[in-house]
Every structure is written in structure tokens, then in C-alpha cells.
Amino acid sequence: MNNTKKLNEVRKEVVAILQEIRPEFDFSEKIDFIEEGMLDSFDVVTLVTTLDEKFQISIDGMDILPENFATIDSIIELLLKNGAKSESDFS
């Protein structure tokens, strides 16, 4: 990932993207978005497309699994896995 964004900034960006996809839910809460029914498979498609575009990466198709979109932390981990040069980019 070609950036030096701090973790908090990335977190805010991810929350903003999620809020735009499903404005009726509060994604800042520490709950399982999938289990709570806040994101369905079509939301995940929109989310992946938006994250790919925003962070200029391509999230691996094999990583598009519900558990990787369950929390903000898991989404950030996914971003790191699929594009960040190193974890220090985010720290």
C-alpha cells in the first residue's frame, strides 16, 4: 500500500466506508458485523470494490471470507495482508 497512514486514520476511513454502505448501523461499535447482520454478501462486494479503489490494492479473492469483514480490526488486517508494504506503514 503506497501510504504512510496512521492506524487511526485508516480505522476512520474504514468506518466511514462502512457507514456509507449501511448508514443505518454504527460501525464504531466492537461487535461482529457479519453475525449481527450488518453486512451481507453484496455489502462485502461493495466494500471490497471500495477498499480496492481507495487503497489501490486488489484484495485476494481467497481472502473474501465473512470472518475477514467481521470487525474493523479484521478489515485492517486484511488491508495489511493485501497491500501494505509492512505493518509499520500503519503503526
Binding site: S41, T46, T49, G61, M62
Partner: protein, 358 residues
């Protein structure tokens, strides 16, 4: 994972492809209100998945109607002679009848010679590859010189209009591919894999002998995601299909290239089955194939008509090139069964490669 079923054929060629599409065009925007999500969300998905327009057969149109119409066109244009057809292979999941085979119905309607083979095969998304394998195998016989491969499906009739998983992307159509012996010592590399434990990932639960259609099976019910469908309708577990494709297709293509001693750069086009734009882009990214070498524009223009999707992609994207040049193409189909199969072969100097509206 190494594939075990690698098939090799020699001295075979494709000499023409015709794709027959219903003239009825249905727009995604006109169906958005059927689905259980907001318009804003629908429009986002339209871009990501490639939903736009799809071709839907009229209620009384059958698979044999589409095939007979296309074959008569080829006879009239003198692209094909009735007496030259030694075998008719029909790949479909929407036959005219349970019995007899629809290929026999087509043979009868056209008045073809009796000294030939008619064969129906129940396959879908990998139906182009399965049909080509069958054609290549028949052509190994000295008496078989020309095989007509028909891929045809009208599965929109089995899809609930209120099923946002399947309805926006389904399409109807047929294709005719002429396969013949070749004097050139060409090599065709293929592979295939199947996993019947995933039989229920894509299926129509009722209507067969296991669960005959009844008023109970026709009852519309809402699933967890808000789709309405009955047991008579096609059901697709979209997440499972997606994961299966992302897991199995890249190693299959890698294996095919390896066994053919070729690399991605040597392939002119990767003509893959067309489930939706998102899935194809993810495959292209994973395999590092440029988007312009792997077209993903069939769903947005015509919808996904199972085994017809690859001939449609060919006719839409490279028909002129294939009439004048030789190209090295990679075909890959994946879906119902579960089945996944691929072919690497030279295709070119076709006698015809075009669309026909029904």
C-alpha cells in the same frame, strides 16, 4: 494442487461459432424494485457486478427453437451442410422434455440424416469445455468428420424475479460451434475436475424425480438475505460459488499452462465463463492477467447463459480477429456440479463468428 486429469487432443479445430440471443432485452433498472435493497445499493452493485441488460427468452421459446433457428441460418448461409453433420451434441440444463433427448428433437425438426449421433449432456457453466471434449473424442473416430456442438439454456424461466442473487445476472441463449478434424498437427491441452459433494451449491431443488413439482414446491419463501424463491426455482449459494472459483480456477490454469509449456504472455485471450464482473476481475488480479486479455463484459450486455457465455464472449469481443487471424486461446468454465475445466488451443480463420437474434 496438481491436477490429475489432463487431456490432450491432436488434429482438431473449431471452424465456426454462432451465438443466438433472444431479441427480448430486460434492463436491470426496470427490475430493481423487485429486490430487497435500496436503489443506491443496487446502483453500486450494478457497477461492481456488471448488472445492466440481459437477454431473456419469451415464455414459449424452447432450447430446440433457438438451436433449430441458428442451424437453419447456417444452412441458408451455406456455412454448413446438413449431410455433413456426423454428430449433434447438446449441452443444456433446460431440455424441452425429460425424454426424449432434445438433440433428437432438433435432428428430427431439421430432417437430418439418420446415420449420425445425437447426444444430450446435462452441464452448465463448464458446458463449452465439456462439449468440446466430447466433440474431440468423437472426432477420433474415422467415420466422424464434423461435430456440431450446441450449448443452450433458458434458465431465466427457473429463476425467481425476486431473487437478487441470480436474477440480475441470468441470461438465455444458444451457441453453435462447429468442430472438425484438422490437417495441422496442432495440440490441444485440457484439464477437468469435478466435486459432486458441492451438488447443492447451484441447483433447482424440485421438478425432478427426487422432488416432483407440486403446489408445495411452488410456494415462495423468503431466505435470510431477503430473496424470495420457491423450490421450483434455481438457487445459488453465491458465497460458496465465489470461494470455489477463487480457490480452484487459478491453480487449474497454472497447471494447464505448465503442462502445455506455455506462459500467460503467449495466450492471446483468456475466454472464461462469465458469472459476473467482480468474480472475473478478482480472478484476473490473482493470476496477473491484464483485464483486456480476459473480457468480463458478457453479463452487462447479455447476462450469463451458462455454457453459452464463452461463445458469447468470443463473438462480442474478438469475432473479426478470429475470422482473419489465428489466436492462442484459453477457455475456462466453472460452476454447477461442481465442475471446473479448461482448454488451451489455437483458434482462427473461422468461416463465421457472429450473433443472430431470435
Amino acid at each position: 494442487m496438481e491436477l490429475k486429469v489432463n487431456l490432450t487432443f491432436h488434429n482438431k479445430k473449431i471452424t465456426g461459432i454462432l451465438t443466438i440471443l433472444p431479441s427480448n432485452i430486460v434492463k436491470f433498472e426496470d427490475e430493481m424494485d423487485n429486490y430487497n435493497f435500496s436503489k443506491a445499493k443496487s446502483l453500486k452493485l450494478k457497477l461492481a457486478m456488471g448488472y445492466n441488460t440481459h437477454r431473456i427468452a419469451k415464455d414459449n421459446t424452447t432450447v430446440s427453437d433457438l438451436c433449430v433457428y441458428g442451424l437453419n441460418y447456417l444452412f441458408e448461409k451455406d456455412y454448413l451442410k446438413k449431410e455433413d453433420i456426423d454428430a449433434l451434441i447438446l449441452i443444456t440444463q433446460s431440455p424441452d422434455y425429460f425424454m426424449p433427448p432434445t438433440s433428437n428433437v432438433i435432428q428430427g425438426k431439421l430432417g437430418l440424416k439418420h446415420d449420425m449421433i445425437c447426444l444430450d449432456i446435462n452441464q452448465g457453466c463448464a458446458g463449452f469445455e465439456i462439449g468440446l471434449y466430447q466433440a474431440f473424442m468423437l472426432l477420433e473416430q474415422s467415420e466422424v468428420n464434423k461435430v456440431v456442438l450446441l450449448n443452450a439454456d433458458i434458465l431465466s424461466k427457473k429463476v425467481s424475479k425476486r431473487d437478487r442473487n441470480s436474477n440480475p445476472l441470468i441470461g438465455d441463449g444458444a451457441s453453435i460451434t462447429i468442430v472438425e478434424k484438422s490437417d495441422k498437427p496442432n495440440v490441444i491441452n485440457c484439464n477437468i475436475k469435478m466435486n459432486g459433494t458441492g451438488y447443492d451449491v447451484l441447483m433447482v431443488p424440485a421438478g425432478g424425480f427426487k422432488l416432483p413439482s407440486s403446489p408445495e414446491t411452488a410456494e415462495m419463501k423468503e431466505d435470510k438475505a431477503g430473496n424470495f424463491r420457491s423450490l421450483d426455482n434455481l438457487v445459488m449459494k453465491g458465497d460458496e460459488v465465489f470461494n470455489f472459483v477463487q480457490r480452484e480456477v487459478p491453480p487449474m490454469i497454472e497447471n494447464l499452462l505448465k503442462s502445455s509449456k506455455r506462459d500467460i504472455e503467449e495466450v492471446n485471450y483468456f475466454m472464461f465463463h462469465q458469472p459476473n464482473k467482480f468474480m472475473l476481475r478478482k480472478l484476473a488480479d490473482k493470476m496477473k492477467i491484464p483485464y483486456d486479455k480476459m473480457p468480463n463484459n458478457v453479463v452487462e450486455n447479455y447476462g450469463n447463459a451458462s455454457g453459452v457465455s464463452i461463445p458469447t464472449a468470443i463473438c462480442h469481443n474478438i469475432s473479426e480477429e478470429l475470422k482473419s487471424d489465428d489466436m492462442f486461446l484459453c477457455f475456462a468454465g466453472f460452476g454447477v456440479g461442481l465442475t471446473w475445466a479448461s482448454i488451451l488451443m489455437n483458434v482462427g480463420h473461422l468461416d463465421f463468428c457472429e450473433f443472430l437474434e431470435y
